[in-house]
Symmetry: C2
Subunit: 261 residues, 2 copies
DNA sequence: ACAAAAGTGTTCGTCCTACACCCATGC
DNA sequence: GCATGGGTGTAGGACGAACACTTTTGT
């Protein structure tokens, strides 16, 4: 599944019982709602241009190449289909039910985070280069509508994992730019957890966690200026267990080749 | 920081070799040490009978069949290679580095738990039926020696996950029989976490968790009799997220055939 | 009687939560 | 001045760690 608009021509056509391996990614970002000004968790999806599930929206992804690892395949297919390069990438789960696709496909699914300022920057870069990806649209991660394959279930699982992990790791920082106020950070937490947090208690929690380095800069413009903070780079972005040293999920820019057609 | 040690396109192998999908399982049980009487975390491994890594010990597993789901494949290959049927089974991670095997193999790895009383019972049943699995031996999960492929790394990750999960779910119960004392349960926790726990505080914690139902039976034989407890079956064995309702990792007996992939 | 495990009680420190309150800026 | 978000202080409750203590058995 999840061959988005990517060419599956390379796949051997005949053998019906071959098990193919695909890689897909659930990628989140937080965008400020123009309405009430609160942050909303958003997700880019790709419209399918062929059967099965033609015209339905699906997770970005593609086939695993014989010469690339799983992490690399996730980065590559994500860039090819959406033009985006995430700030954080982690494997989510392998989905392999027999009936999840008309042909037998095992999907290694990743989940990723994208910094708010990167969304527009990367899109603008693609616009300028004339290689803007087509068939990509942004959806409310909490209500993406009916998706292709078992992708609704996958998105639910990714959301569950994100909400869990925000409680015991620093992944929320993967959604912010280098400098941010505590209100920015709290907005991300509130978008993920979908509930309001006490500003006073939130401040103390993140200050005591030792992850934040206060700068001497402030953001002005409304009311009392708010201090800007930076991440402590010594601390891991997220707890990934003993696998964290093997491949730290740092993404290389990986020149996105125009291929969405 | 943008450079990740990824195989460049020059390394993309000549033939478009098919990517094969394997399923392996890290299975844990707690056995009482004959020496000091404390519980020890043990793990069955299978000796490889062919290249690569011939004669080295490896995780039980096998190839994914075209007509079976991932969970079913994990149960089947585990039974085929070790003759064991676990009490708990959950997907761990998908390993797919290009160089983790001479041929390109993506391994969907599961981890499983086995009740202490099931180990001997299942082994005795196989002895009687004359289909006792060969090339299977039990190892200390904390020091299994040098294993085939990347299986040392996989075992480390499974141990990390087990130690984490024992803190916020009831998986320890997957290692005990139906009736058990609080000392039995504590012994399991101590074997997993590899440290001693205060009996008094441990008692209150598990009693307040609502997972235990006290029976009116006691275990006698040494010192003051200890009350026997039973699990509250209404509570999930482990927190599996939104996937828990899809396939609750309950194992069907699935006739075990002796083999060693 | 004694040892040892089962089980209870109490104290202390830490962390989260709610909420009152002060501070600094734009208007 | 006044509204608003930034930032501090503080009291109360939940919970875990440490440990003293009582209970009940086998020997």
């Amino acid at each position: 599944m999840t061959q988005t608009s990517l060419a599956p021509d390379t796949a051997r056509a005949a053998s019906t019982d071959a098990i193919r391996v695909a890689v897909s990614t659930v990628i989140f970002t937080v965008r400020r709602d123009p309405g009430d000004g609160s942050g909303r968790l958003m997700m880019p999806l790709v419209r399918r241009t062929r059967e099965p599930y033609e015209c339905l929206w699906a997770l970005p992804g593609g086939w695993l190449d014989a010469g690339e690892g799983l992490d690399a395949a996730a980065s590559r297919t994500l860039a090819e289909t959406t033009g985006l390069t995430p700030s954080y990438l982690e494997q989510l789960y392998a989905f392999g039910d027999v009936d999840r696709s008309p042909t037998r496909v095992v999907s290694i699914v990743y989940w990723a985070l994208l910094r708010a300022d990167d969304v527009d920057a990367q899109r603008a870069a693609h616009e300028a280069a004339g290689d803007a990806p087509e068939n990509v649209a942004w959806f409310d991660a909490n209500a993406p509508g009916t998706l292709a394959f078992d992708h609704n279930e996958i998105v639910s699982y990714a959301l569950w994992r994100l909400r869990n992990k925000v409680g015991y790791s620093r992944i929320a920082h993967g959604l912010l730019s280098d400098l941010f106020t505590l209100a920015d950070l709290r907005e991300v937490y509130e978008a993920i957890l979908d509930r309001r947090l006490d500003p006073a208690n939130f401040r103390r929690q993140v200050e005591n966690s030792g992850n934040l380095i206060p700068t001497d800069r402030f953001r002005t413009g409304s009311h009392r200026p708010a201090r800007l903070y930076r991440y402590n780079q010594d601390v891991e972005l997220a707890d990934r267990g003993p696998l964290s040293d093997s491949e730290p999920a740092d993404i290389q820019p990986s020149s996105p080749e125009t291929s969405t057609s």
